[in-house]
Symmetry: C2
Subunit: 335 residues, 2 copies
Amino acid sequence: MKSNVTMKDIAEKLNVSSVTVSKALNDKEGVSEELKEKIKTLADKMGYRYNTMAKSMKDGKSYNVCVIIPERYTGMTQSFYLKVYQAIAQILEDRGYYGIIHILPNEDEDQLKLPRIYHERRVDGFIMLGQPSKEYIELMQSVEMPLVFLDFYDENDNVDAVITDNFYGAYEITNSLIQQGHKEVAYVGNLFSTSSIQDRFLGYYKSLLEHKIHLKQEYVISDRDERGAFIEMDLPDQMPTAFVCNCDQVAHLLIERLNKEGYRVPEDCSVVGFDNDIYATLTTPHLTTVEVDIEEMAKNTVKFICDKMDNPEVKFGRVAVKGKIIYRDSVKAIK
Amino acid sequence: MKSNVTMKDIAEKLNVSSVTVSKALNDKEGVSEELKEKIKTLADKMGYRYNTMAKSMKDGKSYNVCVIIPERYTGMTQSFYLKVYQAIAQILEDRGYYGIIHILPNEDEDQLKLPRIYHERRVDGFIMLGQPSKEYIELMQSVEMPLVFLDFYDENDNVDAVITDNFYGAYEITNSLIQQGHKEVAYVGNLFSTSSIQDRFLGYYKSLLEHKIHLKQEYVISDRDERGAFIEMDLPDQMPTAFVCNCDQVAHLLIERLNKEGYRVPEDCSVVGFDNDIYATLTTPHLTTVEVDIEEMAKNTVKFICDKMDNPEVKFGRVAVKGKIIYRDSVKAIK
DNA sequence: CTGAAAGCGCTTACAG
DNA sequence: CTGAAAGCGCTTACAG
């Protein structure tokens, strides 16, 4: 069944025109119910498959949305991005679009090479998932193509971006610690490394401020160098009762370190993470953390990109999606 | 720059025909070098982008290869599949094809629904990455479309499949244990759960046979129930000196269990895994394990699918790609 | 070396 | 309700 059946083939068998077949198969006006049924039945029987390429050519749309993920985000722990893609693809599907993953090789990023799919007009919009270099961002913006940033943003303010509410998430989880009696709360993360580490720090800080807790310099503990490589953490001389870590992986490392130094978690000190990724449940004890709302982020992203494909003028700006605290076993209440 | 420049636009500016433009842009015979250069330069300046949809329509090919991954393989630990996809996409790219991921929703798998991309003729071949239900396999095979299985196979023997050499990998790693003096070696895995657990067991068994070591029933330890959920493992009364685990995650669980029972790894007993996934380095000590050769598997898969797209008659059968032992700290030599 | 004609499979006006 | 004509952007085969 090499199935190269076309509308014309169906039309000929039925002695009608291919225009009529087209109308019938697309449920359009202008064909009698009876004929429509007959056409549909025959199409099925002949194993007809609609050729979208032809439609694409007619209306100059590819019905593809390309999700670009920088290669360096596809490491071991980052099945996060595959999940995000899955959610996006599912929602695009409902709108009749296809999601296409493009993993951006590091060298293409350096050489400012756009994906071939762009040059071949096989895409109507871009979703940039994960932050590439500044230069690459500019390149993407210079191209007249609907574009939405996902999971990061740019200082440039005429961009549309969907991000997790890092600030609010860290604020909330720090609040929960304080509500459980913690007054000596440290933050773990290099504030100058990424915007999300910084924003999470600020949420933590706001919580301290609101509770009139003084921010001690030695309670802000760096976890990585400028290039993102993890470093040995500097534990303060006077230990806090709780640590707010900028991500689950760092919470995992911190707990290993604490154990080595003889501290038990959560008996001696509490630790919370962020992301609810694989490290959250790999760590003993399982981590109390902030879960990112992937579904909601995907929904927003798809809505934005679709609206922009319909009307390139619309703007959404930065939209932060709130996460949710997942309570597990790494926090102890203090009386 | 709404860039709807077509070959015709270029042709008109230069007072030539669009046929000539087509030839020039495709580096075909029949245009003077001089004119060719002129055309290319102008095309660049006008921001021309080639429209592959038109070409696709002409020659009835989509230049897309769809990589289907059953939804249930996209869980936390499975960034493995994203890596495999990345390798495949890269190699397809070199051949002028696009890789398209389709995550097969569980319900589509149950209801035997093929991806929309198939019905819309936007794909020239399928790569099935990860084993779906028997019924879904049959469905895929009933469709006249080049198809390659990746990372699993089917008893049906007229299929083309690229798999890791589970048998050989387990054989080799067990050999290495025995060479280091281990004589009491157990295997951990439910032999009736998946074909790869079974094949790895057989490789382990062959190594025992070759070394004239008797296989003790209590040394074959089940790790999961029929539905794949992990169960409490039954440690034998007389402990072996080494355990061959069917995967790194189970090695990780086993070590946790051993620690709880007071055994230290590798001092009291050695443990090896399989896969070299995230668990291999998350576990303390880091695991000696078998690394799957993703690059080689991807190369084979792409070669097979491309050859089949050119000539649907070619057959490759099952091809097993050998892995490589990664030596780390979970094994101690015995004098 | 160059180009007019026909066609890939569909849809959009428009006419009957 | 039905269909002839034209066109989407390109390429192939053929003629000059």
